[in-house]
């Protein structure tokens, strides 16, 4: 394991493109959640009646414990940024044909994919760490001392982690299949944002919500909308919360399927 990690480190440590996108990733998570938080504060800070009503209606989604769900949801909207990193890390190998050279130099095909698996795990861990830091930062700065059940929703760390790893694994699978960075990224965005959203919405109406079994929609359901938005359709929201563990099992199934496909494709394919 150490040997594979060392080699991957040699590949990326002097790669400016990687560090630029990593910087964007690191800045975007606190940035996006910070913007949401500041907007909420501005809307509820003054003494006008409308502001008081908003505060009364939606509560404070940035206080513990709800902040775990709120930040998980808003962060999940920006999975495309770390997906760029993951897609770049594999498609670069195809672009430079270094995936062939790594095998020629003595890696097995499995070792090559295991090394890339570690890359996806590390990028996922960075994103999860950012989520935890942003959640705790916002939570501790907004929550009053009277709140006792601060970590009641801390299990969303697990749900969010599963979602991130599943979706980055999906991005990696597309990278392996398509080999070209821009086409793979375009396919990822088009499939996740257009195809699955439309498909899932259609299936809610006509196929008994079978859309929750789709490859990325299944893990999207792990980070439901914050509770104040759930009040708009309380029944659907409660149903979504009750299905979280089922969605987690489906997501684990997809992670196994994605990586199983990656290993199988790489073993069978000519390089």
């Amino acid at each position: 394991m150490f040997h594979l990690l060392k080699t991957e480190w040699l590949k990326i440590k002097n790669y400016p493109g990687f560090w630029w996108i990593m910087a964007v990733t690191i800045l975007s998570y606190p940035g996006i959640n910070g913007i949401f938080y500041v907007t909420y504060k501005q809307q509820t800070a003054n003494e006008k009646t409308a502001a008081k009503m908003i505060k009364m209606l939606i509560g404070n989604p940035f206080e513990f414990p709800e902040v775990f769900r709120t930040v998980a949801f808003s962060s999940s909207l920006f999975i495309t940024i770390p997906a760029i990193l993951v897609i770049m890390l594999i498609t670069n190998e195809y672009t430079y044909k270094t995936n062939r050279q790594n095998i020629i130099d003595g890696w097995s095909r499995n070792e090559f994919i295991i090394a890339k698996f570690y890359n996806v795990v590390i990028v996922s861990l960075i994103v999860i760490a950012l989520y935890i830091l942003v959640t705790l930062g916002i939570g501790f700065s907004t929550t009053g001392s009277g709140v006792a059940n601060r970590f009641e929703l801390a299990h969303y760390v697990g749900y969010y982690s599963l979602q991130v790893f599943a979706q980055l694994s999906f991005a990696f699978l597309l990278g392996i299949l398509i080999k070209r960075a821009f086409i793979a990224l375009g396919t990822f965005i088009f499939y996740k944002i257009i195809v699955e959203n439309i498909g899932a919405a259609f299936m809610i109406k006509y196929a008994n919500d079978a859309g929750r079994f789709l490859p990325t929609e299944s893990s999207d359901r792990l980070t439901p909308i914050p509770a104040f938005l759930g009040k708009l359709d309380a029944d659907s929201y409660q149903k979504a919360l009750s299905l979280l563990n089922q969605q987690a099992f489906i997501t684990v199934g997809y992670i196994i399927l994605f990586w199983g496909l990656v290993f199988w494709i790489y073993k069978k394919r000519d390089l």
Binding site: N14, R100, Q101, D105, G106, S108
Partner: protein
């Protein structure tokens, strides 16, 4: 002992059969040239023995053992184009090679870069290199850690005449040290000069293989000349053992069965018939002629 044993390798790309059951062995210490026109299957075969392509059928062994990644670590290889990380320098690219293969160390990296004359540019990014410099770096990567086996696909691609000569000398030097080199090349002159063994491929079939002198010499060609070329042509018509006679303005070439030409007897025959030879030599077919003959090009 065979370093590489290839047994009935078959490979197709859709309907195109690139290799049609190719078998041969590479003896230890050989400089083994693989020749063939474009599309004959040379690179496909090298790609299979380096596990970049999966064969449809057949097998191969390195060092008498089934191929494995660990065995491949002991082979320095250059396949088709130089494949490196464009954003990394020569040194950092070779660190990746070293990390994967375990061949060489930091001192060895500097040494191979000096050997291929890239030391001065060792810290420049690969993307800034010329074609020839990229090829030199690929050769440096293959040489890293002084592997006993080298697989070189068109090693002189993109090199200037001096570079080509240097690679030729390097191959000769490595061969003298007992290294085994498997080399695919279009440059017949180059192969003829450095190779001890040769295999010729044509449209996926192995046309011939073996030691260079056996492959090239399938008949003895004796070239003779005299002051009166017309009389010479008349006289040698009846020379015993000659299979074929080819005449030019200056010389007559007599073809004998392999190993049967006796220069002294020919000289004596001509002298007895009133001809004093001014030119008498036993010629080998050049690889170029043989290649064109075998591949019908």
């Amino acid at each position: 002992m065979s370093i590489l044993k290839v047994n009935q390798l078959v490979k197709s790309y859709g309907k195109v059969q690139a290799l049609k059951g190719v078998s041969f062995e590479v003896p230890e210490g050989a400089v083994f040239g693989i020749l063939g026109p474009n599309g004959s299957g040379k690179t496909t075969m090298l790609s299979i023995i380096l596990d970049v392509l999966n064969a449809d059928a057949g097998s191969y062994e390195w060092f008498g053992k089934p191929a494995s990644p660990d065995l491949r670590k002991h082979i320095g290889s250059l396949l088709e184009t130089p494949n490196f990380y464009h954003y990394l320098s020569a040194v950092n690219n070779l660190k990746v090679t070293n990390s994967i293969s375990g061949r060489g160390d930091l001192v060895a990296i500097d040494a191979v870069l000096q050997k291929v004359k890239l030391f001065e540019r060792r810290k420049s990014r690969f993307s800034t290199y010329s074609l020839g410099m990229k090829q030199r770096l690929a050769i440096a990567a293959a040489l890293l850690g002084d592997p006993k086996i080298l697989v070189l696909d068109e090693p002189t691609n993109g090199l200037d005449p001096v570079g080509i000569m240097e690679i030729r000398e390097l191959i000769g030097e490595l061969s003298k040290k007992g290294h085994t080199i498997i080399m695919a090349s279009h440059l017949l002159d180059e192969v003829e000069k450095v190779c001890t063994h040769v295999a010729i491929l044509k449209t996926g079939n192995l046309v011939t293989h073996g030691p260079v002198h056996d492959v090239l010499v399938d008949e003895d060609i004796v070239e003779i000349g005299a002051a009166d070329i017309h009389l010479l042509k008349q006289v040698v018509k009846d020379i015993p053992g000659a299979i074929q006679q080819v005449s030019t303005d200056q010389f007559v070439q007599l073809y004998f069965a392999k190993g049967s030409a006796r220069l002294a007897d020919i000289n004596q025959f001509c002298f007895n018939n009133g001809i004093v030879l001014t030119h008498l030599t036993l010629k080998r077919k050049r690889l170029e002629e043989k290649f064109f003959e075998l591949t019908n090009n």
